[in-house]
């Protein structure tokens, strides 16, 4: 088990390498990279100057080598807007994003499992139909639409909750739900499918043949087996959750790393974008490993490693 853990951790640098390489390629694919670093009205001479200064005239392999060297030293360049190393600006904004993503995750797990379970156990009834419809809407509606709708309803019309910013719990609610609803819908659908699948299994009848009441059948037999599928989908959702936080942060002006990156994209502050992407990739890689280990604790049929 420990060996497998170390093996997974050792893969993280590889993942980061992949991510930064993709960033490197995309930067150069989308036209002249220099254009990101100069203003709209720069003269050809100024452009050439910047090009030489930033090393864009060097052969590609040299550029790549220098780039990797910089990345290892966490040097992503200086932020154009703030003038300081980009990397320094980001870590302190990460907690806000994690707070938002955690809250959204908590909501999506709670609501998702609740809706999914009710739907499955009351399959075919009106309750099932209602839950399934809400779930469908939740999965179909885009984050920005939900966000804006919630703001319109709760902030503008009802004046119950603040529309933007951070501070107390009341600031967390709207962005949290906006981000969480989509994932809640996803969790609900998987939960419903998993429970329905397990209810039909032979071992559920064995449990009933032993005299187990439905409560026991559910908590001991159905739930533990359904958890496998549900945890899987939650685990797979976490990277999306962290990524989706980006849009949510933009809508609600939430002081997290995602919103910061979005602003940097609009400001063409490339260094921040680059650093931000690497940090997000790192977060995703780590959470994936944690989820994998939780998963193998739940299902004894999984044997990790060789």
């Amino acid at each position: 088990m420990v060996k497998y853990f170390l093996y997974r951790v050792s893969l993280i640098p590889l993942i980061i390498l992949g991510v930064v390489t993709i960033v490197f390629i995309i930067l150069r694919l989308s036209g002249d990279p220099v254009s990101l670093f100069v203003g709209q009205d720069a003269t050809p001479a100024e452009i050439e100057e910047v090009r030489e200064e930033m090393g864009f005239n060097d052969p590609m392999i040299v550029q790549y080598g220098k780039y990797l060297g910089d990345v290892i030293r966490l040097d992503f360049g200086n932020s154009m807007r703030y003038g300081v190393p980009a990397f320094n600006l980001l870590p302190k904004r990460l907690p806000a994003t994690l707070q938002l993503a955690s809250f959204a995750l908590f909501i999506s797990i709670f609501i998702g499992i609740l809706f999914g379970t009710v739907s499955a156990l009351k399959q075919g009834t009106v309750l099932d139909a209602i839950c399934s419809t809400i779930t469908l809407i939740g999965q179909g509606a885009p984050v920005f639409w939900i966000g804006v709708m919630l703001i319109l309803l709760f902030s503008v019309k009802l004046k119950l909750l603040p529309a933007t910013g951070a501070g107390g719990i009341e600031h967390l609610i709207l962005p949290g739900f906006t981000l969480g609803i989509f994932f809640a819908a996803r969790v609900a659908r998987i939960t419903r499918a998993a429970i329905l699948d397990i209810i039909a299994q032979q071992y559920i009848w064995t449990a009933r043949a032993k005299g187990a009441d439905e409560k026991r059948v559910f908590t001991l037999h159905i739930a533990k087996n359904a958890a496998i599928s549900v945890i899987t989908i939650i685990g797979l959702s976490i990277p999306s959750l962290i990524g989706g936080a980006v849009m949510t942060e933009a809508i609600f002006n939430w002081p997290g790393i995602g919103g910061f990156i979005v602003t940097a994209v609009f400001n063409r502050d490339y260094a921040i974008v680059q650093a931000g992407v690497v940090i997000l990739a790192m977060t995703v890689a780590v959470t994936n490993i944690v989820v994998d280990f939780i998963y193998c604790y739940l299902d004894p049929r999984i044997k990790l490693g060789r």
């Binding site: 064995t206 032993k210 533990k224 087996n225 049929r301």
Partner: protein, 307 residues
Amino acid sequence: MKAVNGISYSLRKGEALGIVGESGCGKSVSVKSVIRLLPPKSVRISADYIRFFERDILDLSTRELRKILGNKISMVFQDPMNSLNPVLTIGRQIIEPLIIHTDISKDKAKKKAVELLELVKMPDAVKILECYPHELSGGMQQRIMIAMALICSPELLIADEPTTALDVTIQAQIIDLIKDLRNSLDMALIWISHDLGVVAGLVDRVIVMYAGCIVEETLVDDLFYHPKHPYTKALLKSLPCVEGRIDKKLETISGYPPDLIQLPKGCCFAERCKYNSKLCIEKRPELIQVSDTHKVACWEYVKGVKQ
């Protein structure tokens, strides 16, 4: 669809009854309906009474019925791999009936589980408790199912084709095990099978079912040596004989079982029966007593009717 089309039988304390018939004849469903182990929304059970000792369990509430299941009446299913919960240890699953029906402590329950595993001749009983179902073979899993069924010392054990999913040598072991257990515990047994050979050495009485009806009911030896119903006779004839000629063609029963949604108004077997007559096709024969211990549902045995 009538999966079971009017059956009635009784079982004495400590007696072993075999229910045989081909797939789809209703043997499993009829037994499961006695203990209501069928999806309630999909089935309707109707009977005059279902008596267990002095109680009519037909009208028992679900809660009351649950007190009996696993406790006084236990069941072993056909496919042991799918009948065990894959994410719980064997130990936890075996002691479950004790936890549900008694106040016993977990430690005492575990000790009892080890006793039962030894009773069903499982090696390394203590280690097995910590294993998961997928780590064991089919034969071992079925022994565990049996141990689980016996842990509360039931009055009746229902075995629904418990050896069908196992290979022949393991089948023989399980059958021997059940024979030994019956000798030592005073337990009634209902053994459902489509395999006549299996029930031959195991049970006291046999019921033969076809298309949801009982067609013959008698002592096991009588069934094999003096079968009366044409279906039973045809079944026995179709058994390959080891001593016979090698080039002899195997006997079959021509035709197909009737569609349970549209049962014929006469005898269900008439269409495939060598001796069928107009009466057989028109009217369904009742199960009648032809001797102290032998019942059959066939117009051939109703005096004065066919001649």
